[in-house]
Symmetry: C2
Subunit: 307 residues, 2 copies
């Protein structure tokens, strides 16, 4: 009979390592399972918004998170989770793609969120070197430069407004002539002297030279010289592992959680960008805090059931 853990934390969003660290502080037996140690942040070449750290690579920050979780008593398994089954009132089985199985009373899902990609040549190659999916995270690297924002939703237009304070020109590229964002944002963007709207405009290729990104080629054959491009065409929260348990989700597919980070599936908690909490403020500081809070909630709830 295998061990029944108090909780299994499934990564690799940035919530997972702090969740494990706090779970261990609460003396909860736990393992942290995820494919990439550190998730999306670990791939950032320069992070300047983790409080107390002026500038560091995402990998260094995440390595420190991992060391902290291990020092606190967590075990990190670098594997891909294949399935999560709910076997009983508080009993889950987690299977990995290498065939291993683990049981736990609770699950903390911290699988994060994937920014939708354009899927064009140059996009993957230039991530962190011109291509970004988060203006709050990366805008400051583009002081005085020319950038584009792809998308017509609230995120795209508010990111453009933010970037307009930093960059010399902000080009908003919209596939049709319809802007989905609220009028208030659109009106403000249209009044902004350095925001330029481009309708019926689709990116065909992101181009680069010796010094990094140089511009884009559009599907109509036109080109635009740019130093950076922010892609804001939607998000895909990674809920696939628990969808069969029918947790409540919002219109974007994020898991609805309460103030304690519990989903509508009892004993299933979630933290970070896979959830609705925190007004979709997709920042490492918030994901980390939610991870810690979810460990606190697991501790409270396990105390309630325990012997």
């Amino acid at each position: 009979m295998s061990q029944l853990f108090d909780t299994i934390i499934i990564g690799a969003g940035s919530a997972w390592l702090p969740a494990g660290m706090y779970a261990s502080r609460y003396k909860l037996s736990n393992i942290i399972i995820g494919e990439l140690p550190g998730g999306a942040l670990a791939t950032s070449h320069c992070v300047e918004n983790w409080p107390g750290v002026l500038s560091e690579t995402g990998k260094t920050i995440m390595d420190d998170f991992a060391k902290h979780a291990i020092a606190a008593g967590s075990t990190i398994l670098q594997e891909r989770v294949e399935s999560v089954a709910k076997d009983g009132e508080y009993e889950f089985t987690v299977k990995t793609t290498t065939g291993k199985e683990y049981q736990a009373k609770t699950i903390i899902l911290a699988t994060g969120n994937k920014y939708k990609k354009l899927g064009v040549p140059g996009e993957a190659e230039l991530i962190g070197q011109g291509v970004s999916y988060c203006a709050t995270c990366d805008g400051n690297f583009f002081w005085g430069l020319k950038v584009a924002v792809v998308g017509g939703g609230n995120t795209a237009i508010t990111e453009a407004l933010y970037l307009a304070e930093i960059c010399s020109e902000v080009h908003i590229l919209i596939r049709t002539d319809k802007i989905r964002a609220e009028d208030i944002w659109v009106d403000k963007a249209k009044k902004h002297s350095n925001i330029i709207f481009h309708y019926f405009t689709e990116v065909a290729e992101i181009q680069w030279g010796m010094m990094g990104m140089t511009g884009i080629l559009c599907k109509d054959g036109s080109t635009l010289a740019l130093d950076g491009i922010f892609i804001a065409v939607g998000n895909e929260p990674f809920t696939g592992l628990v969808d069969h348990l029918s947790p409540e989700k919002d219109s974007e597919g994020c898991l609805v959680v309460d103030k304690r980070q519990e989903t509508t599936v009892r004993w299933l908690y979630a933290a970070g960008d896979v959830t609705t909490n925190s007004n979709k403020f997709r920042q490492t500081i918030m994901s980390s805090a939610e991870g810690c809070l979810s460990a606190n909630s697991v501790h409270e709830d396990i105390l309630r059931i325990g012997e």
Copy 2:
């Protein structure tokens, strides 16, 4: 005519410096005003639960937060705020005790929460050397040792249950014979072999010797040898500066905020332990996250009102 800032962040909870750092990242003109740089955490001699930092003094962590806020563009004024007036739809005046006045469109209140004190000899002298107000924060320093928890509410009893996994003995000291905590916690605590209840017991003095805390003297003249004491007799959120604006509060006096950290007073935001958010998870990681989120919300709302 003095400058109208986008936001003034009033400390000194741990939310304030990250709030300023994010406000500056969003290009919001801001000042951070507070008496103590760093708040309660800055007085901790050993912090082991800030993600990525295995062990550090609270002062070092807060100094790093302050440097980060300044590097991002914030100004920190180390002064006591005397009053906050709401002059118009989005116009506040903040006065300090030295007579200075500052105007801002919005306020982020991050004044934190004070743990109620017993007010007995030895208490103030032994903070961080036996006396603690937070088991989650400090419990790990008492492995295998004898401690007491003062109080009979949910916080006191759940802290005792947590400490019982770490400490050799946990004495719960209750003033009457009434325990306010939920039965489920009390039943669990009563079953615990190393939790001992003491009724009609009030601390008169916390005693120490050459090596730190030695025990307590009770009002009935009895004594108890102890290595540590956790005081859980309630909290006082610092809302005094805004009480005249009649923000909604919960039964503990914490400011009710929405998912965006806005209080029920328009243009007044709050973050950290002074608020109801985050299930009263009074941890630096959560306060910091709420500070950052409140800056994000101020940015969104100021964009909406325009010039």
